[in-house]
Symmetry: C2
Subunit: 441 residues, 2 copies
């Protein structure tokens, strides 16, 4: 009786005018959404009013395609830098978490540690860092690399990067700041910890020149599904954002990660697994399908084939669009994603066109087209049967797709006792049900 | 006869609880100001209501002193990262410029180009970048360096860094974004410029994945007073923030920079020179002096000697505090600052204690203690006689010191027709009277 002990956690994935590749062409879409701050302010307020745990910004540090016919037809490069947008949204919101993606391959840990600690301070404890290693050569070429650093090397660097950042966040003990005007003593320097890190990739002395942040440390989010990614996540992640095609995949990933977490001496509940969900909501199934087809019809074939080529790490423009997916060469990029797509094509016997139509919408994430009750059923199943602790809602277009989810699906989840009606806590950590780290000093 | 053609430009230098080293001990100071976002939001709104051109945030990427007795007695490390705070302030203001300091030595140009372009977009054209090369070993040690990179090397990197950033800001021509839903064409790729920079320090392909920003490009600010710093400023700076002790120094610097600017084919007015001013305002001179002495009396000698040692690049703790300044070894840090301080001590025959008291307040900047009319006289002289285009107001303590300036000095400047009563433009560039760069494409 009363509400269940555990409820679904929800993130709102805010990407320009929506997650669907042709969303910007939707009649109700704001085509300039990518660089329109008012658009994001409006979305953040809607998501907060709906009691989402967090808003989530993806990122890349480059224009991932140099194929001009593709580039000309997408809104891809018309975006804002997440760690600059989220502080602005922090000033306009009070309770919702703020998760920004930032690359461990193309940043310095001291800089990122300062920025996330600052975001945590100005938001009153709502910051999260989605650590990615970046997967494209186009990004590497903006940072002095001829070729992209190899997958294993990126993950090795990421692991050390993470430890340096967390170490810097522990520079100041919980009561290090005395600020005693009478004696003139500002800090208790007994509670100062100089990191003195010397590792393979980084030498970082410390301490951080930003005070201890309200959450002790910002929430660490990860998205890697490869072996190296899972290994790092098992040791360090507190939230995992992941793409699955089927419930079996989700359950197997969920159980693997929870095992790894426990093998690292953590509790299973110390990490929240939140797959991406691409929901298209209709009052009837037919209405939902019609909404989806409307978006699909806006995909230019040039965009579809290029998008697939880019995601799969191989140029498919020379192959017949109505023929099968050819065998793929191994790439240095996101290995797990290539495998997911090849498996999908093989399983459902898809042509290149069918595959690009399949992935252009949800782009590897679970696509759910249906009524509020059908969508709630699926979320409930994944949540209750060991596939997810929550979900990242990748709205097909914005704001309309998010509105549909908020107005139609959330009431259904609440009727079932599966989603909150009010925030439980003040910080992102509290709302997610994650432990507050105690200071080392 | 109407307002004069040119008026004074004003920046509000916002540093924790004020520029005076002991400001945090002031009875009216908010001791936690450094990490208190509400404090900065309040200051930004006050400065905007007063029609300041910009607020200005200094920065360092490390705790500059490892001398614990000093560290314990200052608020130094209790700060926020500027490029994370200014976006949040952008969301709460509408007209005031937002200038953040960021180091060319410890960042990558692609990252900074994105962040400043984003700040420019979300603020509607109010972003400024204060390019610094960073001057302390404590900072270098947070970024894999055993020793700080040499002065000339830092400036060589800074020059190339600047060119890459500005080049990236020119990735998209003025009308590159078509966003035509009907044809499906988002970009005019004819107006896309791929930088393809390959230089000594950087290889950066581009293009930037952020749209062209409202100002064409954010305003470039610099503060270097060394030969290398002046050379870079002459070619690239649009605003110069500088420290002077005397009007003669100010005039000589002003004329040197304007010459250099013209030698680089720019117009003298393409750069605004804004020395720092540390004003202590009283209704009478005696009241102003009393306010100043109250702050000076709060400086712990441990802090004074350490501060001076740190600024001058040599440990003075072993020398008699009431003896003269010893001859100084050459350092790799801020050469120009060391020279300024040695000249000051020599000119006025100061002991170490007298020197630290002298510089603890204004820290190398022009200190003006007096009535509103006396302070206005000095600003007017510097402005009208070739010493300055404007000033950065380094309030001794905050918010009180800024309030004094706004309530007492600004009305006096306005009576003289020397400062605006309303913003002239919408962007920082427009308010400063700087040209809007036209897109290359």
């Amino acid at each position: 009786m009363g509400k269940p002990l555990k409820q679904i956690k929800l993130g709102a994935f805010l990407m320009q005018t929506g997650h669907h590749i042709a969303a910007w062409r939707h009649p109700e879409a704001q085509a300039d959404a990518g660089t329109n701050f008012a658009h994001y302010a409006d979305l953040a307020r809607r998501a907060e009013a709906a009691k989402f745990d967090a808003i989530f910004f993806a990122d890349s540090v480059g224009v991932r395609s140099s194929h001009l016919p593709f580039l000309a037809r997408t809104a891809r490069a018309d975006q804002l830098e997440p760690l600059t947008v989220l502080p602005a949204l922090a000033a306009l919101t009070e309770r919702i978490g703020l998760i920004a993606t930032a690359s461990s391959t193309f940043n310095e840990p001291y800089n990122l540690a300062r920025k996330f600690a600052t975001l945590d301070l100005i938001s009153g404890g709502r910051a999260g860092w989605n650590l990615v290693t970046s997967s494209s050569e186009a990004e590497a070429q903006n940072f002095n690399f001829e070729q992209h650093p190899a997958h294993n090397e990126r993950y090795e660097r990421a692991a050390e990067f993470h430890d340096v950042v967390v170490g810097l966040w522990e520079s100041w003990g919980e009561n290090a700041l005395l600020r005693d005007k009478a004696s003139g003593i500002f800090y208790d320097t007994e509670k100062l910890r100089v990191l003195n890190h010397k590792g393979k990739h980084f030498s970082v002395r410390g301490p951080l020149n930003v005070a201890r942040s309200p959450q002790g440390r910002p929430v660490v989010v990860q998205a890697g599904a490869s072996e190296a990614g899972r290994d790092l996540a098992g040791r360090t992640a507190e939230v995992i954002f992941v793409a699955h095609q089927t419930f079996d995949d989700a359950r197997s990933f969920y159980s693997d990660i929870k095992d790894r977490v426990q093998r690292h001496g953590r509790e299973a509940d110390d990490v929240k697994i939140m797959p991406g969900i691409f929901p298209v909501v209709g009052r009837t199934l037919a209405e939902a399908e019609e909404k989806f087809e409307k978006l699909q019809s806006l995909i230019d074939p040039v965009v579809g084939v290029s998008l697939l080529s880019n995601m799969i790490g191989a140029d498919l423009s020379g192959y017949p669009v109505d023929g099968p997916l050819p065998d793929l060469p191994a790439t240095n990029g996101g290995k797990s994603r290539q495998q997911l797509l090849a498996d999908l094509a093989h399983r459902d016997n898809l042509t290149i066109r069918e595959l690009y139509l399949r992935i252009s919408g949800a782009r590897g994430h679970q696509q759910v087209v249906g009524t509020p009750s059908q969508i709630a059923d699926q979320l409930q199943q994944w949540f209750e049967e060991g596939g997810a602790d929550g979900f990242n809602i990748m709205s097909p277009w914005l704001p309309g797709g998010l509105d549909d989810f908020i107005e139609d699906v959330l009431p259904e989840l609440r009727r079932r006792g599966l989603f909150r009606t009010e925030y439980e806590g003040r910080t992102l950590r509290e709302n997610l049900g994650l432990k507050q780290p105690r200071g080392l000093l």
